[in-house]
């Protein structure tokens, strides 16, 4: 059975294959009812807009249907039911399970109890492989991923999308530039793993010192709850804000990505520049998730 749990489970060839498939779905190269008789269970035990809606959209575009749980409060989890039991039952209802859960490793556990494929739609501060695929897809739309200079900016400690993406990019011979506020740096074990995989990781104190060398700038949200008070949050957040002035002299093709939602990291005036690609990135969630859903249920 084909589960999609962690980007660590993927070889470069797996990623390239899925990105090629997503491209086919994106350009209309598919039958509209490919998943006509299939049902996906979308189990979201944490808030989500784009991920949940794009999985639902992907199912609908392929002619399939879905059932969903949209919060812990609306499920038997509040009665003390374990995730393992929920997954066993959902396996008997649906042909695939898409899971978002606040605990790290939840999707791995689900795959052990499920009798249908499980797709990890984000587990705590852990992995978010479908987001990583759409990030890679968006980069590849404009430039070869191989050898790119990629900046990762923001909360690199808790931001799962940055961890997943960094690990995937390590398969493409990129150079990673990390820029994070004190205390929110990339965890040492992930930096070590990236270097063991042969990736050059360069840490920077300031985005300004590196932005002109970048091909891709991946911005993540700095979460307010990580700071002791509002003043210290605003102090840090303002120094990591991308503005049109900051973009003076950057490479013409440099793209800014963000997994969204943003919370002030990117000035809305940047949206009007050709560098802003985050809305296109969000849109790419649909063809990428079509490819994933089709792959696990075909």
């Amino acid at each position: 059975m084909y589960h999609v749990i962690s980007i660590r489970d993927f070889e470069r060839s797996d990623l390239d294959y899925l990105l090629d498939r997503a491209r086919e779905f994106d350009t209309g190269g598919y039958r509209p009812r490919m998943l006509e008789d299939k049902l996906a269970a979308l189990l979201f035990f944490e808030p989500s807009t784009r991920t949940r809606m794009s999985f639902a959209t992907a199912m609908a575009r392929l002619g399939g249907r879905w059932i969903s749980v949209d919060s812990v409060e609306a499920s038997s989890i509040v009665k003390g039911e374990t995730l393992a039991d929920t997954i066993r039952v959902m396996s008997s209802y649906a042909d695939a399970i898409v899971l978002r859960h606040p605990k790290e490793g939840a999707a791995r556990l689900a795959s052990e109890f499920a009798s249908v494929p499980v797709i990890n739609a984000g587990d705590g501060a852990g992995q978010h492989p479908s987001q990583t695929l759409l990030d890679l897809y968006t980069i590849r739309q404009s430039m070869p991923i191989d050898g790119a200079n990629v900046g990762l900016l923001g909360d690199l400690r808790y931001g799962r999308t940055a961890h997943s993406l960094a690990l995937a990019l390590s398969l493409y011979g990129v150079t990673l530039h990390t820029i994070a506020p004190g205390g929110l740096e990339m965890p040492a074990n992930i930096t070590l793993e990236l270097r063991e995989r042969g990736t050059e990781v360069i840490e920077h104190a300031d985005v300004e010192e590196v932005i002109r060398d970048l091909d891709v700038l991946y911005v993540t949200r700095i979460q307010r709850e990580r700071f002791p008070d509002s003043a210290s949050y605003y102090n840090v957040a303002s120094s990591y804000r991308i503005t049109p002035d900051l973009l003076a002299g950057v490479k013409e093709h440099m793209m800014i990505l963000h997994p969204l939602p943003r919370a002030g990291e990117i000035d809305p005036a940047v949206d009007r520049t050709p560098h802003a690609r985050y809305f296109e990135q969000a849109r790419n969630g649909v063809p990428v998730r079509m490819a994933l859903l089709h792959e696990v249920m075909k």
Binding site: G80, L83, A84, P102, K103, E104, G105, E112, G126, N189
Partner: protein, 155 residues
């Protein structure tokens, strides 16, 4: 096994039945007891020697537990903190089995994941699972890496 002191008496007396754990890394004897669940309130007759001179290790600890033969899971746990340890099973004062400890490739239910957000630290019916790597223990659920103080996390 036992070493004579200058007065000619035995530093640690032989046991009739049970287990002698020899060549424990010096200073780890109390952690070995913790792993075996032996506390002040348990009934086992116990002998401990710490910082005993050893040709091989320089200094070593020895633990003797009477009337208890260690099972494989217990031996696996000891291997994590005392990889040089030797387990001797004693019956009627004779060593009937002598084995080294070997760290397995995967540890199930042996080490608690230090990550409070890990799914194995919840009421889910799942055992913690770590793969043993050169750089440390890697949680197969949340990818946490334990590099130091492994003894603190042994269940």
């Amino acid at each position: 096994m036992s070493r004579r002191d200058p007065s000619g008496g035995l530093l640690v007396s032989p046991i009739r039945n049970g287990t002698v754990i020899d060549h424990i890394t010096a200073g780890e004897a109390l952690n070995v007891l913790r792993i075996l669940g032996i506390t002040g309130s348990t009934r086992e007759c116990l002998s401990i020697a710490t910082n005993v001179e050893s040709k091989r290790l320089g200094k070593k600890d020895i633990v003797k537990v009477e009337n208890r033969e260690l099972c494989k899971e217990e031996v696996d746990r000891i291997a994590l903190i005392a990889p040089q340890a030797k387990i001797n099973i004693i019956r009627d004062y004779r060593v009937v089995e002598k084995k080294g400890v070997k760290i397995p490739k995967v540890l199930k239910g042996v080490v608690r994941c230090p990550n409070p957000g890990c799914i194995t630290n919840t009421s889910e019916p799942v055992e913690s699972t770590f793969e043993v790597l050169e750089k440390g223990l890697h949680c197969l659920y949340c990818d946490w890496l334990i590099k130091d103080d492994i003894a603190n996390y042994i269940i």
